[in-house]
C-alpha cells in the first residue's frame, strides 16, 4: 500500500553564536509527501514557535517514521486546525485504519470533500491511537463489534484487469451479490 503522506521526524536547532554556544534542539513529527517538504514545514512551524529561521538555523536529522504494526486495526484520533473561508477552527476527527499514514491520508481527503479545505490550510495538532472504549464518533464505534456481520448489497462487476475493459457489453450485468 503506497501512502501519499509520509511521517517524518525532523530535528533542528538555531545556529550556534558567540552568546549561545549550544542552542536548544527541537524535534518535530510531521506529515509531508517527501523529505524536502517536511524540512520546509519544520521551519514554518518552528518560526511560529521560536525566534529562528531556516537562514539562521541548521537541520540536524530527518528520518521517516514507519508504522510499527501495519497488520492490526487501530482507531486514530486526529486533532487539527484548519482555515475555512471565514476563519480558523479546531476539529477532532476519528478514523479506523491499519496505519497512521493511512488515517492522515483519510483525514486530508475527508476534509477536502466535506469542508472543501485543501492540504495547505490544514495543520495537524496531534494524533493518537484511541482505545475502543474512548472513541467518540458513532461511525467508528459501529465497527467495534467482534461479531460484526453485514451483507454486501451490490456486486461491482468489473473485468479483472484494466486491459480487459470494453466500452460496450453484450448484456446487462447481474448486480445481485
Amino acid at each position: 500500500m503506497s501512502y501519499k503522506y509520509h511521517q517524518f521526524q525532523v530535528v533542528g536547532r538555531g545556529l550556534p553564536t558567540e552568546s549561545d554556544e549550544n542552542p536548544k534542539i527541537y524535534r518535530m513529527k510531521l506529515w509531508a509527501t517527501n523529505e524536502v517538504r517536511a524540512k520546509s514545514k519544520f521551519w514554518y512551524y518552528l518560526r511560529k514557535l521560536k525566534k529562528v529561521k531556516k537562514s539562521n538555523g541548521q537541520m540536524l536529522a530527518i528520518n521517516e517514521i514507519f508504522e510499527k504494526n501495519p497488520t492490526t486495526i487501530k482507531n486514530y484520533g486526529i486533532w487539527l486546525r484548519y482555515q475555512s473561508r471565514t476563519g480558523y477552527h479546531n476539529m477532532y476527527k476519528e478514523y479506523r485504519d491499519t496505519t497512521l499514514n493511512g488515517a492522515v491520508e483519510q483525514m486530508y481527503t475527508e476534509m477536502a470533500s466535506r469542508h472543501r479545505v485543501r492540504h495547505h490550510c490544514i495543520q495537524v495538532i496531534k494524533t493518537a491511537t484511541i482505545p475502543a472504549k474512548l472513541c467518540k464518533r458513532e461511525s467508528t464505534k459501529q465497527f467495534h463489534n467482534s461479531k460484526i456481520k453485514f451483507p454486501l448489497v451490490f456486486k461491482k462487476v468489473r473485468p479483472p484487469t484494466r486491459k480487459l475493459k470494453t466500452t460496450y457489453k453484450a448484456s446487462r450485468p447481474n448486480l445481485f451479490v
Binding site: 500500500m1 501495519p70 497488520t71 492490526t72 486495526i73 479506523r96 485504519d97 491499519t98 467508528t140 465497527f143 467482534s146 461479531k147 460484526i148 456481520k149 453485514f150 451483507p151 454486501l152 456486486k155 461491482k156 468489473r158 479483472p160 484487469t161 451479490v177
Partner: protein
Amino acid sequence: PFKRYVEIGRIALVNYGKDYGKLVVIVDVIDQNRALVDAPDMVRGQMNFKRLTLTDIKIDIKRVPNKKTLIAAMEAADVKNKWENSSWGRKLIVQKKRASLNDFDRFKIMLAKIKKAGVVRQELAKLKKEATA
C-alpha cells in the same frame, strides 16, 4: 434475501489486483469499505470489498487470529477440498487448465471431442432406428 455476509471467518475470492484468484479469509472489518484479510501464503493486509467476492464457505475463528490458529482453523474446516469440490471452484480449475494448454494438448482434445461426438451420434442413430421400427 442475503445469504453471504461479510463476517469474521468468511472466505472470499480476490477478483482484482495483485492477488487475483486467491482465496482469503476476512479476519476483521476496518470500516465500511475495507476488511483486514489473511491467507496462509500472504502477509495480513487490508483489502477493499470491491476486490472481494464472498463465497459460501465460512470458518470458525475469533477476531484477528495469529497465523498458526488461522491455518489450523482452515485445515479443520477443510476449506481447500470444499472449494475444489464446489461447482464454482471446479469451474475455475477447468478455466485454468484450458488457459494453460499447449498446441499438442489442444490437438489431443480435438481428437477426444471428435471421438465423443462419434459415440453420441451412434447411440442417437440406434435410438432413431428403434423409434421408427
